[in-house]
Symmetry: C2
Subunit: 338 residues, 2 copies
DNA sequence: TTGTAAGCGTTATCAA
DNA sequence: TTGATAACGCTTACAA
């Protein structure tokens, strides 16, 4: 509870001198500094960052805005792993993280700018929000630096981190093509996700390059959810029994697809090959283990925080965005068609 | 960037009146209030919580201290799920979360009290720390309210949330006993975990109740880590081939044990029955699916935040701690011995 | 019902 | 090398 005032009194100097001594300014007599530091220790002083932030107008705090941070996200460790990366990168440079968890109900009450201003965060990292989220427009208008995870918006103070989703999808489809598949369906997420658009693009491009016509009816949405994907895949496979392989825009949805296949009596990979996306932890443990496209989630978070803190300190020089590589991980859910 | 000063000027009143109007005090003329609220909206005002916290000496912030928040924790969703619960409970009552991630290197630089005072958190939730962590003593001494997850310390301002680990372990062992096992080993975590002590107690008690002598050499530590557990279990099973069942203090370790069994050519559950603890997501997907003791991790977090905010507002009335029930989840990793 | 003024714990400007 | 003093944006006695 000791303040610099207390120290000043105890050490017989002014608060100014205490402040300067404790902050390592050079214009303080060595003896005085020593005495001040000692009394600070004696009084178990620790600075009040609130007061400091107020006067300096810098909070050394980053807001972490995760849309619907909830149990449902528990299954793919995506959010968590990204967070770990963010946390590590932020704490490396002395920033603390404040967690805003919003949902649409809360968003109605409080605008993005309000949220940030209130807590005086210096910058924001946004994760798990959809393309049509009203906050995105606010972010671009506002002058609070922000880095998005998996939404490709850029602006003066806005950047993003993502992986090469087009290429990732191409690798997945090429793998299927190489195995001899030609009737390849796709279970996508939803139209409001940046990654869905990109993965679809990769899927279509690879097919086109191979001279295979694109069939709209082979593409369905599973909302990035396991049960929804199961329903969608079930219907798709029932309507189009000629399909021998499915590319899923997420591992979680691939899980649902596996369930649908089981219900239809289809063996994996003999009757149906499945490729996922994300390489979530679970994908290694399914039966059979899932072939998928790996994304380095931790790195995404780390990079996001790094970009943001760079904007904050350098004043926004160099890169604002980053696209990370991803890799095909071949496991046992894919095989040549019968 | 508008402040109450700006509003005061624009609305032609004093800052006091603005403050009172915006905070819903009754002693403000309805007309004046309306005018003030309108100009606040016009100016896109949002309060500066830093300034407010400073003067009120209340930050409405909870510190979340997770020891070694890192990728290694990614495999069990424990940390994440608890966090979701904390987040939901905290935001229900208008508290924000600030993430402190410490590791021993940082702890040396900064004491617990310093950390909290600096950021002026009103209370703290601590997760993933060991019994011998130096912070624990600090917490008890300090007068900052704190709730621990899975460490049973109590004090004037200190409580904890845990599950009934003794009973959980008893259920696990009883299940094994009922199947006819008598040579039951235990892969524990380490001596610095509260839960390890409790689970061991449950294991020993149940065995004793069944008239089976406790054999020290049947108990080994796996540090709550998969590879360590694999090594420990491998050695144990090699030295004591008569063991037909293993109770593991965590699912993650059970995964390692399964690997060890495989390497030894033991089939699960025919040659070796395994029971885990936690019911992590993965346990459902292993081959075979793991019998385990479920803990409601989300609820633990929710309860922790609830206890803490109650302490903060009521001034520490009623309960300070909570012990949640857990349930045996029987899957396919257990069977009668041959 | 409204306003004046003090104060929260810092840092920054300026003068000594 | 040091110290008054103002300022950051807000709340709150106290007075009017």
């Amino acid at each position: 509870m000791a303040t610099i005032k207390d120290i000043a009194k105890a050490a017989g100097v002014s608060v100014t001198t205490v402040s300067r001594a404790l902050n390592g300014y050079s214009d303080v007599n060595a003896k005085t500094r020593e005495r001040i530091e000692q009394t600070a220790r004696d009084l178990k002083y620790s600075p009040n960052s609130l007061a400091r932030s107020l006067v300096m107008n810098k909070s050394r705090t980053i807001g972490l805005l995760v849309s619907e941070l909830s149990r449902s996200g528990a299954k793919d460790m995506f959010t968590y792993e990204v967070m770990c990366g963010i946390n590590d990168a932020a704490s490396d440079v002395g920033y603390d993280l404040i967690l805003f968890s919003t949902n649409s109900a809360k968003q109605k009450q409080k605008s993005y700018t309000q949220l940030c201003r209130e807590r005086q965060v210096e910058g924001v990292i946004m994760q798990g929000i959809k393309r049509d989220d009203p906050y995105i427009a606010e972010v671009i208008e506002s002058n609070i630096p922000c880095v998005f995870v998996d939404v490709d918006v850029e602006g003066e103070y806005v950047g993003y981190v993502t992986t090469d989703n087009v290429f990732g999808a191409q690798m997945a489809v090429k793998h299927l093509l190489n195995l001899g598949h030609t009737k390849i369906g796709m279970i996508n997420g939803h139209d409001y996700a940046h990654v869905s658009q990109k993965r679809r693009k990769g899927y279509e491009r690879e097919l086109t390059d191979a001279g295979i016509p694109i069939r709209e009816e082979y593409m369905v949405n599973g909302q990035f959810l396991e049960p929804e994907a199961e329903i969608a895949a079930f219907a798709l496979l029932q309507d189009h029994p000629e399909i021998t392989a499915l590319f899923c825009a997420s591992d979680l949805m691939a899980l649902g697809v596996m369930r649908a296949a089981k219900r239809l009596g289809l063996r994996i990979p003999e009757d149906l090959s499945i490729v996922g996306f994300d390489n979530i932890l679970l994908s290694e443990y399914t039966t059979p283990p899932l072939t998928t496209v790996n994304q380095d989630k931790y790195q995404m978070g780390y990079e996001a925080a790094h970009l943001l803190t760079a904007m904050l300190t350098d004043g926004g020089s160099e890169r604002q965005s980053a696209t990370l590589d991803n890799q095909l991980v071949v496991r046992e859910s894919t095989a040549p068609p019968r």
